[in-house]
Symmetry: C2
Subunit: 480 residues, 2 copies
Amino acid sequence: MLLLGKLSRRLLPHRRRFLLCRKAECTSATRASLDGALSALRSVCGEDSVLLGEAVREQHGRDESVHSWLLPSRCCPPDVVVFPHCVEEVSALAKVCHKHRLPIIPFGTGTGLEGGVSAVQGGVCFSLRKMEQVLDLHQEDFDVTVEPGVTRKALNAYLRDTGLWFPVDPGADASLCGMAATSASGTNAVRYGTMRENVLNLEVVLADGTVVHTAGKGRHPRKTSAGYNLTNLFVGSEGTLGILTKATLRLYGVPEVVVSAVCSFPSVQSAVDSTVQILQAGVPIARIEFLDEVMVDACNRFSSLSYPVTPTLFLEFHGSEGSLEGQVKTAEDISQSNGGSDFQWAVDVETRNLLWKARHDAWYAALALRPGCKTRMLCTSSSGPIAGHVGDGNFHCLMVLDPGDPEEVQRVHLFTERLARRALAMDGTCTGEHGVGLGKRALLCEELGHAAMQVTSSLKQMLDPMNLMNPGKILQPRGG
Amino acid sequence: MLLLGKLSRRLLPHRRRFLLCRKAECTSATRASLDGALSALRSVCGEDSVLLGEAVREQHGRDESVHSWLLPSRCCPPDVVVFPHCVEEVSALAKVCHKHRLPIIPFGTGTGLEGGVSAVQGGVCFSLRKMEQVLDLHQEDFDVTVEPGVTRKALNAYLRDTGLWFPVDPGADASLCGMAATSASGTNAVRYGTMRENVLNLEVVLADGTVVHTAGKGRHPRKTSAGYNLTNLFVGSEGTLGILTKATLRLYGVPEVVVSAVCSFPSVQSAVDSTVQILQAGVPIARIEFLDEVMVDACNRFSSLSYPVTPTLFLEFHGSEGSLEGQVKTAEDISQSNGGSDFQWAVDVETRNLLWKARHDAWYAALALRPGCKTRMLCTSSSGPIAGHVGDGNFHCLMVLDPGDPEEVQRVHLFTERLARRALAMDGTCTGEHGVGLGKRALLCEELGHAAMQVTSSLKQMLDPMNLMNPGKILQPRGG
């Protein structure tokens, strides 16, 4: 493939700066491809929605992952960013890319954590933020359809007066289609499931521009056994099989009452034992999160709290007025039988928000431990609940490091590899909730084994034979 | 393809009877194929595990569906039934079939309702009942791995002393891999989900004998975002993509307390409104089932009960001692505000069993309304909760008819088609929980539309290019 340096000025007025920001690991689309494509792209969605500026391209080549600062050579800007307004435009743009063999990289909010938006082979970034309508709310059926630019918080704001909500919460205010694409989940997956369980239908534009409705156009069956589960073929496919242009999501009744509690434990084991026993007792707990003493200390400092600096569970219960009492009593009895403290309560919304903000701010709190440093966030799942989202048996490990210290960077890199392999050795997964992206491709092969990787490759080959859809993610580049 | 009549006596000692039972719609494997295959099959799993008798073949060509008695010509016995003992044998047998181009039809318990086991092109039935070990119970991780012969009830009996259970309950004591293959669910899916949500990993033998572990060999991550969701590609594939030889399943804590209740309503609408409002209130209800007055009457007669003959909800609550009180109070308040009766309680296990037996016996109760007749059971889902598993918005309609009356048979057939199309017109699905099998293939095309059917066909072509895996199910026969 030719380097972008050979592109003409006519095509790319920002050529010089472009060359500066093009990194060693990145390649770019061929001159001929881009040459032919640009005017066609413009004629689909208008001059204003086809951008070539350096800043906008840079911004669309990076996410919030380690790849963005620890391995900047992996953050490759696309050659051009397009902003379609509707599925018809997405399909027409995809056809242009297909014709010119240009890579397509879907972009939601750029809040991913595995480098999924990096344009490692150059190409066309499809930013979907102009498609931001909430469509087809069916209150009595508990579902809603959203365009790909709608974020989690925007949807819940829209739903505010309906008594319904969408509970999947990865922390960041990600776009819901981006969350579907990365199989996102979060703190309350233990009760409500992940995106895998909460997407009822998807509209997908394939690499050749074909529009597919995975459960049939406009359908929103709460439960179906009609044919292959095409919806879950695209959930978690990280843009490598198609562009998600609509998602129909399962909604839930807003619980009448929500109460949160904090419980301190004498040891990690006693906190984990309590979690297992609470789940065994069938308590429909909404969230149950573990923080080790280092993290509690960091949260105390960062959020001006004063929790005892010991292994700690943050818990949340959802239900009706009366039903919560019993849930809470069961959980408290179990915790105390394992040496846990009395529950510290957060019933009013402000105290609850303070508590969960402390949990969500764990990353920043960890950063504040070593000013000037960065964190590397991992998500690993093992067979036994250990820490983090203990209800789901997966945990985040936040490594605070100085990116200017190559020895430390290398040490952290080796540690994270060892950590993921430890999870694999315990029959777990190397990535509980951030996807594979760029960073976990080799580990994925170890996790799945040869036969399942063959099926994975065949799926990619079947739906995207020219390897245009977000190439280089999940699967190693062909021949690479 | 040659008819079986041309097979030699050497191959099939039961030739005469075999010819008698071979039905008009069925075709069979070619003489040459079977000729070469039989000794190879025998050498894999032993003489005793390769059966050719008419009775055993007949028994393996039918399930509990309408196809078995209303359209007997669709119930085609396989040419031979094999009983492998382990995955290595399944793989070796599949290789023999692949070499000889013989269709492979997986068989669990034969309790399906869409004709999934009918050997419409003849071939080799793989009965998996000799593989019936429960493997790898991980109590603290809430999961277990089972071989394909293990049934739902056998697993729950095995789990009895662990405080854990597997809740998906389609009524019949189906094999768990059969339930995975058909995406089964049942009365408590509203709380615990269907097989789609509860299978963590599958071992699958593909048409060419390759063994795939969808989430990696031996892994049981409770939550994962590692690559494409291969597990859910095979869940619901009805034996058309591979043979399920192991399933790793999510388990749940047995609830401390279970209480059931019956509530009578003045109208269908008031019962449905109550259901919607109970779900909106966030009550984690375990089961909520609707019976119309005809069904209540039939159940009263069949099970010697005396419920008021009006639209009725059967409800069940799972939880700890204290937590149930609130759940129940919320549900009762809502029901009464819609004109429902006081709840009639069933707290002790005998009364509860009596109540749910009445619900599960609905089929037999309906049959008893017209002695000598048969039912045709449908499962359809529409966008609005109507009846049946109201919590999931899908319902069964049991049509009692005289199979000897061709006019009535035709009338019922037309009615059922109209019913499914009505569900489709309401943006629902033609099959909420029984799969597609033989009976819903044309409706599936209407439901998914051309593009999604193309993806469906491509998946089949990719994993089973010779169309050997349970041919003629889900997809119409090629060229047919």
